[in-house]
Amino acid sequence: MSASSRKSLLDRYLVFLTTPLLAAGLIGIWQVYIVVTDISAFLLPAPRNVLDALVQQVSDPYIWQVHVWTTFTETVLGLLIGIVIGVGSGFAIGKSRLLALILKPFLVLTQVTPKVALAPLFVLWFGFGEGSKIALAALVCFFPLMVNTAFGIQSLPQGHKDMARSIGAGRVFGFLRVELPHTMAYILAGLEQAIVLATIGAIVGEYLGGDKGLGRYALNLQNNLQIDLLFGSIVLMAMYGLVLYLAVTSLKRLLIPWHESVRLHTRTFD
């Protein structure tokens, strides 16, 4: 085995060693802090109690069937709407310089507005049900999709365009075989951000009203002062976010295995 391949092997498996060690270290510090300061269990429960709470939650079908499932459908539906609007408008803006110029001030304004500030309005418009959560998820996640798609289209190398013309490609052929695959890498980069934002949108929406979903569940636990379970629910949400993020990363490997971002990740994280 050569030195360089040994090095890349080390790179590849290093995280599997360091991550558990770092996590154990943090939990150790947490435990020591509790023992030393004697902090109230209502502010910071012990790791052991949080683990018990988490085990209880994970084995409770109600949590999965009602809370996780509700948040999941809100996130995915919001994301789908965000994809349709974001990718669609991204293509339009990327293809038309005029449209990009006209819409730019409006888009900057949408970007700088804290979109969760619209949440109360959405509750008013779409009610306390899933509609307002889906709308909020869609609103917060469409922007990176639009920007990335537009940038993808505009960054098509001149050489690709020349090649397409030289083989006699028309508009449709050029779009399907050259522009779209090229832009796919950018759309997926946008999707990586969008899935995280859609989750945030759905959970923030749940904080504002309704009776189902992970956000609502966490809020109830806080009201009931069930702090062990509240911590457990936060871990649950982190896991939930991680699973969705990994789903997008797998999608990238499936759809754009040729792309640098995937190749580099494959080298270091596989």
Binding site: G159, H160, D162, M163, R165, I167, G168, F173, H182
Partner: protein
């Protein structure tokens, strides 16, 4: 029969009044000829080739290929360009397509059935000695291999005319010599009309039947030299006195211009 006819072509990138990049280019290229377009960097070789290939419009003048005007537009233009293959200075392969699927792209555009497409693309990769690499993505190929795939792609639909813009310019000398030998072999086998842009005198003499020398300010033809060396040419031809004589004439033309266009300046015909 003339395949490529370039008549009074001039090109200006700026508004009227700005200096033209190409002056008044006149060139007739008969069918099956291998023409090298030689000139120093910036003299307008790429611009001229792009106009011939329909990638750029001419400010004035006409270009026709096989009797169909490229500079016209519409159906005629499409007809003219359907018979042209372009090999660029950069390989311009699509990074998400394997070598084989890159070669298939123009065939898909021409709506060839999938099975036939794969077969033809395989043959083309064999032709450029890359049969073993058909599944590889561009980033898994060396620079020389990428240019071979680009050549296979341009040849896949069997165009009568091949336009090549310094295709081996970025490669090392050894790889370049190898590819020049292969290009000669392919040309002898396929008998295409080739316009090959280069700034290397050696490469021009080695490959071409005829070397057209350009100079800048504005881009114009200053010499037209017929290379009468037997084919197939091996690398050893570069060590012969005749080869040295040709390179001397061309170097003179490159530096001093029209004055050098003496006894060798036979426009068109190949001995």
């Amino acid at each position: 029969m003339t395949t490529i006819s370039i008549g009074h072509v001039s090109k200006r990138f700026g508004p009227p009044g700005t200096a033209p990049v190409l002056g008044d280019i006149e060139l007739e290229i008969p069918e099956g000829q291998f023409v090298a377009l030689l000139g120093s960097s910036g003299c307008g070789k790429t611009t001229l080739l792009r106009i011939v290939g329909g990638l750029e419009s001419a400010t004035s003048g006409q270009v026709s290929i096989g009797g169909h005007p490229v500079t016209g537009g519409g159906a005629d233009r499409r007809k003219a360009l359907s018979d042209v293959g372009f090999v660029f200075q950069e390989h311009n392969l699509l990074p998400w397509r394997s070598a084989l699927r890159n070669v298939q792209l123009p065939l898909a555009q021409r709506r060839m059935p999938a099975r036939e497409r794969v077969e033809v693309a395989r043959q083309m990769l064999e032709l450029v000695s890359l049969g073993h690499a058909e599944r590889r993505l561009p980033h898994e190929l060396s620079g020389g291999m990428r240019q071979r795939v680009a050549i296979a792609r341009a040849l896949s639909y069997d165009p009568a005319v091949l336009l090549m813009d310094e295709p081996f310019g970025a490669l090392d000398a050894q790889t370049r010599d190898n590819l020049n030998l292969e290009l000669q072999r392919i040309w002898l086998e396929k008998q295409k009309t080739v316009v090959f842009v280069t700034h290397s005198i050696q490469e021009a003499v080695f490959l071409a039947d005829r070397v057209v020398v350009m100079q800048a300010g504005p881009g114009r033809v200053v010499a037209d030299v017929t290379i009468d060396l037997e084919r197939p040419r091996g690398v050893d031809v570069m060590a012969t006195a005749r080869f040295a004589e040709y390179t001397g004439v061309l170097r003179e033309a490159l530096t001093h211009g029209p004055a050098a266009d003496g006894a060798h300046g036979t426009n068109g015909a190949v001995a």
